[in-house]
Every structure is written in C-alpha cells, then in structure tokens.
Symmetry: C2
Subunit: 332 residues, 2 copies
C-alpha cells in the first residue's frame, strides 16, 4: 500500500485542516498516512478510531512562510524536512505539504535528488479550461531564468504526467509564447521550439489565452513566466468575483437574481476551485512531492493526497526517464 | 487644433466602425480628423454634413493581419504607412490604427523615430483594477528579450504617462516579478530593480495578482511577459463569462436570475470593456501612435482618438525626455 508523508504543520491554518483532510482521504482510499509534526498538537485533532490507522512522526520545528527557502536545508527538525527524509529513507513513497512552497521544492530537489536525465524539476499546475478536461502548465515557479533545454524537458515531463495521470493518450504540447507562429517567442522559447520539433504531440507555440481554452494539454514555460501568468489569472478571477459581489450588494433586485443563480455560481466555483485539484506536483525528482496551497482546506488536502497516491501508483517517474532519453536522442 | 490621422482600413471589420468612431469623436470634441484609406470605400460611409469636416487621404494598399510586420516598411502605399507619414511630415500630430499592430509599431518606431534618450518604445496598456482608477502595464508586447535598461525606461515612460494623462501626482511604480522581496525576479528584473532604486515613486517588485488590485499605478515588464500576462488575463475573463453563460442556458431559474442581475453584468462589462479604453499608446516615439484592437467598435475608435488628442495636448513626450535624463543621471 502507498505510504504518504503529510507535513501537518506548514499550512496557514495550522494542523487542523490537514489532519481533517487526511481523515477524509482515508475514508475514501486505502493508503498509509504518516502525519509529521508536533504530536501534542496533532493528537487532540485525531478521533480515537483513527489513532491506529494514522501514525505520527514527531517534528519540533516549522518553516514559516516568512522564512527564506534557503533556510530549510539547515532546519533538520522541521516537519517538512523530516517528511521528505521519510521519502528519502523509503519509509514513505510521497510527500504532501501545504507549507512554505519554496522550502518544500528546495528540500525535495536537494534531499531526494533529480531523476536520471532531469536538469531541473518543475512545478506543474493543473489548469481549469472551458472544456471539462484540465491542462497542465509547467514550470509554475520552481525555476527562474530557465534555459531552452529546461523548457523542452518540462514539456516532456508534463507530457508523461498527462498520459499517466490525466489518461490523455497523446497529449498536445505547446510552448507558451507571444504568438502562434514559429517565428514568435523570445530567444529561449525559440530555441526550445527547435529542440521539441518532431517530439510526439508537440504542436508549436500557444498564446496566453490558449491556457484556458483547452487547445493544449501541456503548456511549457519558464518558471518566472509561469508564476506571473498564474498569479495574474488568479487576480482576474478574484477581481471579477469581487466586482460581482460589490455590485450585487448595492441592489436588492440583483440579490434576488444572485439567489436564483446560486447553482450557476456553485458550478463556477467548483470549476475554478483550487481545492478540487489539491496541489501542484514537483515533477522530475526521485520520489513524489505535492505542493499544496497554504490556505488549503480539508478537501484540498484530501485531493493532494489522492494526487500523491496516483503519482506513485502510475510509475510516472520511470516514464519520464525513458522519454527524456527519447528527447535526448532526437537532438543528436 | 490637434490633427489626428486615422487608419481607416486596417480593422477586422473594414472602414465602417472606424469612420463611425471618427464621427462619434467629432460630435464630442474639437479636432481635425484625417481618414486614410480607399476613398471609394470611405466616402459612402460619410454623411454629407461631415464631408467638409473630415478629410480623406487616399491609400490603395492595406496591411492585412496575416502579413508579416517586417513587410510594412516596403508597403509605402498602405493606409498605415501613409497615416504615419502624415505625422512625420507634420500634417498630423498623432495616428490611430486598429490594423496590424506589429506593422503600426514597426512603422511608428522606424519612420517617426525614438524620442531623445529612448532605447526602445513600449506599448502601454491601461488595466482595469478593483478600484475605479486604472493602472498602466508596459511593455505589453512591443519588445521581447528586453534588457534591464529597457525595463527601467519603460517604468519612467509609464510614470510620465500616468502623471500627465491619468493625472496621478506621484505614480507608484512596480516591476512585475515572482515575489515582492527585492531578492525575487529573474536576472533582468533584478538588474532593473537596481537601476530604479531611488527613482521617485518606485515601490519595488509587484506580483501578477497586483496588476488588478490597484496597489501600483505603473507596472513595468518585458514585452514577452506583458503579452502573456494580458492574453492569459483575457482568457480567464472570457472563460468565466463563457461558463456563466453556459450554465445559465441550462436552467430557466438561472435565466430569471440573470435577468434580475442584468445591471450587475452591465457594470462588469463596462469595467472590463476594451472599448472604454480605446487603445494602447506606443510610448517613446517622436509623435503619438495609438494601437487599437482589430475588433474595435465605433466607441473604441472614438476613445482611441480621445487618447491621441490627450497625448498630444499634454506634451508627455517632452516630459519623458526630461525624466529619462533624471534616470540616466541617477545611474551615474
């Protein structure tokens, strides 16, 4: 059975939503959960009937959001450090953390190491699209100043994820650029374009608007660019919902309208909801690490755990090693 | 009186919305409009009482959206070429075009030339924010692979625009980056950060989500990044409205709700509407060029014309030359 180490301490709301999320997951799927953190805080949150199903590994220290990611490597008693060590030592197959994402990525990369052939692990985000399927955008922020070879590798790694976890037979792969024509892009993406020509599923450049229209399954980009695109997108969504709420509040007629539209807004929320996805996998490391949002609720943690289980179950890492070999041989 | 040359041909819907927009503008503001394009197509769209108020300059050729921007410099009979020559020869003070934006930017830069001290002209987009004021993002796509000096200059040029045209006394200036801390950013933005330290109004880094929360008045970035952020934002907005429409269509109750919320949706549309802004100025050239959306309706053209008039009236170009000198001396 898959063993998942869960950083119980790092989230913005302390261990409660994380412990609850772990219990939720356990009700629906069989796996071995290991909560890592302060026993004195976790135990009171754990109903008696779960105490023999969920083990707790003590960790005194917590990396807080205000700490520098570079600190993480020295803080060997922190919950995220110990959770990742469990994977390193084979006591767990994957790790889920809603804590400091920079710390999680740094530790996972340095302590677990990169898969054979991987130059840079990438953070992959599942994006909602107009269609019911999701697309993957990577790198979503693990690397700034990515080189062309990195961006080409992100594409390949994302493709393996799409095949194995999203069950898309031949994922359509695109490079995020300022226009569809091969002549578009910056120096780095133009070079990445050349490296990907002929790779299975590669469709060329895609534009910013294509992220959400479902025209591509895998979208590869530099982490600086990926971070900005994601944050701007969240900003637009929250501005729109904020404006709707403001306008509604000012009009009793609109309030009635909004009540009648409740179901519409609920569907919309479900489509956009971070909790439905759970977290972003750091792809390219030996093992499995799912980076969850600091504000994760129990449902988000549950889904992040499911993601980790699937990641381990599908053996996507072996697939990545093979495909990077294909990319490398293509280049020759 | 300010003379504005208007490319009547380049838009996606032919000369009709452009001629109509010109008439709309003329009803509200005093200026001298010069429509550039095929007389045989423009004249029938012009009511008799406007024929002595609007002059037409014949242009046989039109750069279409599928042409390469580099073609533009050879197509000397095209409407956009001739419109820009009018500015170059002093027969017009500014140009408005809803045609091929690459062609407009290339021609405006090459034929009109850069203002003294300007390394690269930048396309500036006015962004809606949660607050009633707008922010400026530049470069929105004129330059890929911008250097640090370019990004610093964009900030200064955007600041002048915010002061003179948006009437913001000391515009808050931010660099778009993957985190607020000075340590965040890619190699280029970190270097730009150093160049801007101490410049009036400079606030440091801002994140993607800050574009829409009104925390900054001027947001500077590389044109590749700016293009992606804008296109992704438009994608999110259109996906949300598309999903709302889809869900509403499936439920009679929701349709009633939507009717009661009509005013809310109208306000939202006005806030997001491209036509309210009109176009994006190319800042840093000798003269004035407003790049409008290919799909511009008459209102968008009217507002683009108003933007051009204001740009010329405020003398922002002189201001830019002075301020770039301040930035340069600061660096010494």
């Amino acid at each position: 059975m898959v063993k998942i180490a869960i950083d119980a301490m790092g989230g913005d709301f302390g261990p409660e939503p994380i412990v609850k999320g772990c219990i939720l997951a356990l009700k629906k799927k069989q796996f071995i959960p290991i909560l890592v953190g302060k026993k004195s805080e976790i135990l009171p949150l754990l109903p008696k009937r779960y105490r023999d199903k969920i083990s707790i590994v003590e960790a005194d220290d917590v990396i807080s959001m205000s700490d520098a990611a570079t600190e993480a490597i020295k803080r060997k008693e922190s919950s995220i450090y110990i959770a990742i060590e469990l994977v390193k030592n084979g006591e767990a197959d994957g790790v889920v953390s809603a804590g400091h994402s920079g710390a999680t990525m740094t530790l996972a990369t340095l302590r677990l190491g990169r898969l054979q052939g991987v130059l840079r692990p990438a953070l992959a985000t599942l994006m909602p699209t107009k269609l019911s399927r999701r697309s993957i955008l990577l790198d979503a922020g693990a690397n700034v100043d990515s080189k062309a070879e990195h961006i080409a590798q992100f594409a390949v790694m994302g493709g393996c994820y799409a095949e194995d976890l999203l069950k898309i037979q031949t994922p359509r792969i695109g490079i995020l650029a300022n226009g569809e024509e091969p002549s578009k892009g910056n120096d780095v993406t133009k070079e990445a374009f050349k490296l990907l020509i002929g790779y299975k599923g590669f469709k060329g450049n895609v534009e910013g608007g294509d992220i959400y229209n479902g025209s591509c399954d895998v979208i590869t980009c530099d982490g600086f660019v990926g971070n900005l695109v994601l944050k701007a997108s969240e900003g637009v969504a929250s501005t729109i919902t904020g404006l709707i709420k403001d306008y509604i509040r000012k009009s009793p007629i609109a309030i009635t309208g909004a009540l009648l539209m409740r179901k519409v807004f609920r569907l919309l929320r479900a489509q956009m909801d971070y909790a439905e996805i759970g977290g972003a996998p750091l792809i390219g490391i030996k093992g499995c690490a799912i980076v969850s949002h600091g504000k994760s609720n129990p449902k988000a943690i549950q889904n992040a755990i499911f993601q980790a289980i699937n990641y381990v179950d599908t053996g996507v890492n072996e697939h990545i090693i093979e495909r990077l070999e294909v990319l490398k041989n293509k280049e020759k």
